[in-house]
Amino acid sequence: MISVALWSVALLLALAPVGIVLSSYPRGSAVLYGACLVVTAALCVTALLHLLDSAHPVLSATLPIGLPWLGAHFRLDALSAFFLVVINLGGAAASLFALGYGAHEESPGRVLPFYPAYLAGMNTVVLANDAFSFLVAWEFMSLTSWALVVSHHREAENIRAGYVYLLMASFGTLVLLLAFGLLASGAGYDFDAIRASHPSAALAGMVVILVLLGAGSKAGVVPLHAWLPLAHPAAPSHVSALMSGVMTKVAVYGFVRIVFDLLPEPEWWWSMVVLLVGGPTATLGVLYALMQRDIKRVLAYSTIENIGIIFTGLGLALAFKAQGLDWVAALAFTAAMLHVFNHALFKSLLFFGAGAVLEATGARDMEKLGGLIHRMPRTAFAMLVGCVAISALPPFNGFVSEWLTFQAILLSPQLPSWGLKLAIPAVGGLLALAAAFAAACFVKLYGISFLGRPRTDVAASAHETDRFSLAAMFALAALCLVAGILPGLFIDALAPVSKAMVGNVMPHQTGLEWLTIVPIAESRSSYNGLLVFLFVALCGTAAASAIHRLASDRLRRAPAWDCGYPDPDPTIQYSASSFSQPIRRVFGSVIFAAREIGEMPPPSSPLPARLKVELHDLIWDALYAPIATIIGFATERINTLQFLTIRRYLTLVFGALIVLLLVVAL
């Protein structure tokens, strides 16, 4: 199995140079994406078979590459198998989507070589079994995705996004390097050796903080999220889907691998840190999303929210594991992993839809769209499924993982620690707020861009997207429904992962009456997505047929009523900013220092009156702007060193040598 996985990665790597050649042929992109589709689908199936294998074998392999005395170690266990499934399911869907979408790429030479390399990088991260390979793969994944972010390099915005991304990615890798340095101090770089070593409590705590910074910056936890909403939307849409739906999950993998697997038994304060990061990340991420007008940026911010939900689940798992309540830890951990899977599905779907809209209209700004449900009915249907699923509404999959997280929160009075007793209800409240904001956010996204009347000519003349893109979207939409109505199958498949990471599993789900899911005991809580779906479908159709038969089925078309004041001008409709105005007024005045400034020209002046809205990203202002100023100041000063004479350079070198020698001597 592991050889299949490694060969697939090698194939993907080999496809990268092929991409350079193919990019000059008109059908080249289709060939490359087709090849990626085949490889990722094969790898996905392989990993799935490994995950479902009842013996749960742990396979490892060593290749004579990498550091000369170490070699490159690879390992395929339940956790890597699960993340391989997520990565390659997303990869296969993105490749299928790109079979159609990629044909519109203006400069395929900037995308094709990096795309398979990026997939290979992500796969290698989850397979790596020593720190060196892990970090090399991690950095490779970052650099290839950076290349994809700046592929449309003529837009100044994308260049800035790429710059910020590169800085943050380097920061993340640096911090991870330090974490591995601490871990390796007693053991070496091999993960097996690190697992066997027993780092002291203080050292392990430092590693947790460093990993939270390193993996968290890649996943986009607040306040390290600043790059994410810039970089994810800048890439071509299928790559955006991979970055948001899949790469953030690789970051989650990094966190889980180190904190749950490599480190010894957790302490309760670790969970406190993770929870205090996760809860605010969820709420703030989606509040930012609500304030945006750009579809892809809304989706990127909503990724931050979902990462917050996942980290909350992981924090709960840590808390329960630290107290020895590993059966609850299994519930929280499974909820987090299920959300990893679910988010990969619906976020990829939504980015594909955004890509289809972008391709059909050339616009990402919602205020230029509207009425697309008439022009792009199939895309609109798939997007609707994605929007309902991501808003955590039954009977789709997003609800199941949030429901499981809530069930874990409800068990938290059993924890003895006072800090956690006070923190967990607050985090539960934040998650509940985030869920409500998410629904508002996706009502806005869907209502403004797909419903109503077209606001511009490009929206009025949009056309349906190609069949490959539609196939990718409908496949993911179907999976969202299946995971929503038969969650027991997915929970059971996650059992070996939970067993390996927290030492216990959730009760076996499939085989229960009516396929209900019961996380702890039937008297406590249960949910049956299948029955909810069937009941709603049955009641709806029964009501429709009864009314049509017994009462009336006549229908007339007429102009809209609008309380007697219909206006043919489409600008009369609510826009994206006006839709979020009430929420901005209620929540934004503190969190974004939002202000509305009305400019009224003096009487008899022909100037129009204006209403301006000011929003500030306080985290950027408080954290990033000062750092940027300091760095700018320092570089200005150091810049003079570039213009010295040769004598002075020699003096500098000599001085440096003396100082170094002194350091060595002391």
Binding site: I373, P377, L384, S391, L393, P394, F399, W403, L410, L422, P425, A426, G429, A432, L433, A435, A436, A439, F442, V443, Y446, G447, I448, G452, R453, W514, T516, E522, S523, R524, S525, S526, Y527, N528, L531, V532, F535, V536, L538, C539, A551, S552, L555, R556, R557, P559, A560, W561, D562, Y565, P566, Q573, Y574, S578, F579, S580, Q581, P582, I583, V586
Partner: protein, 318 residues
């Protein structure tokens, strides 16, 4: 035999909520009218309205999409299913394991999601204003009710509504501060969710502050009938929910005899009448709020719910 009885009992409750919902709305309207010294419409007026609307043609806006036509059925089905999962006169419903309290709230959330979309489908200014304000209210009401559910579920040790009701009916509950707070929070949320005064006014049309009525302005005929019926079901759901969690006395258990069931049903009607009367009394004695005062009103519910949950964490007996 028991299976048959369970199916009958579940079916009876589904039919009961459907038939009772317009009556409750009619009752509240009648009481409100009497309190204002008006004669008021007869109790059966909501039924007549529904039948009248169902028989009429649907007049659909020119650019309404297929979604606009499907949404009334989706909303109705979602609300009906949610309402029939709340125990009315008897516990231990056959399908009570289908959805716990969190899932019932989320089902109502789905219905609201689609209703807000429907408001935006035709592309009119009124629809937009309604949807935009509805989601603003929902962003406060939904967390408030979820946290109230947390508080109640932690006390009862279950999110399963039948078990919660059974626990609340037993002697193990006692007098708790947190339950009182949860009750107030749930009441505030119920007022907001059902578009009652002081959050919204169910009786007006053509008022700038309207929320719910603005969203459904473009609906007519059978579609409007279904949406009206969904709102009536939602009111019944919330009243039943308050009755079953906070006034659990007399609710029949799963294996009760026919006589106890009948007694439970009688008591249930009594509870509905009392709560409906209180709702009418409250609505006539308070004025409608400005839209931007609503967040403060709902924020109070949110804080009370959070406080109730925290109390539960601090001490098992509070």
């Amino acid at each position: 035999m028991t299976a048959l009885r369970d199916i009958l009992s579940q079916g009876a409750q589904m039919l009961l909520v459907l038939l009772l919902a317009p009556l409750l709305t009619g009752f509240v309207r009648k009481v409100k009218a009497r309190l204002l010294r008006r004669r008021g419409p007869p109790l059966v007026q909501p039924y007549r309205d529904l039948v009248r609307l169902m028989r009429k043609d649907v007049v659909l806006a020119d650019n309404a999409s297929w979604l606009f036509r499907v949404i009334p059925y989706l909303m109705f089905a979602g609300t009906w299913v949610a309402a029939s999962l709340v125990p009315t006169f008897g516990n231990g419903l056959l399908f009570s394991g289908t959805a716990d309290l969190i899932a019932i709230i989320a089902l109502l959330g789905s219905a609201r999601f689609f209703q807000a979309l429907a408001g935006m489908d035709v592309g009119t200014a009124f629809g937009g204003i309604g949807s935009s304000r509805e989601v603003m209210i929902a962003t406060l009401a939904e967390p408030a009710i979820l946290i109230t559910v947390f508080a109640v579920a932690m006390i009862a040790g279950s999110t399963q509504l039948s078990n919660v009701a059974e626990f609340m009916g037993s002697d193990a509950v006692g007098l708790r501060v947190s339950l009182g707070m949860a009750f107030v929070a749930l009441t505030i949320v119920a007022l907001a969710e059902n578009a009652r005064i002081p959050v919204d006014n169910p009786a007006t049309h053509l008022e700038l502050t309207m929320v719910h009525e603005a969203m459904v302005l473009e609906y007519s005929g059978r579609h409007l009938a279904l949406i009206d019926l969904s709102s009536q079901l939602k009111l019944l759901l919330y009243v039943s929910l308050i009755a079953c969690v906070f006034l659990p006395w007399g609710t029949a258990t799963a294996d009760a005899s026919v006589a106890t069931l009948a007694f439970g049903a009688l008591l249930y009607f009594g509870k509905l009448a009392v709560l409906g009367f209180l709702l009418a009394l409250f609505e006539t004695s308070i004025a409608k709020m400005r839209v931007f005062r609503i967040p403060e009103f709902l924020g109070a519910a949110l804080m009370l719910a959070l406080l109730a949950t925290l109390l539960r964490f601090v001490s098992g007996s509070l």
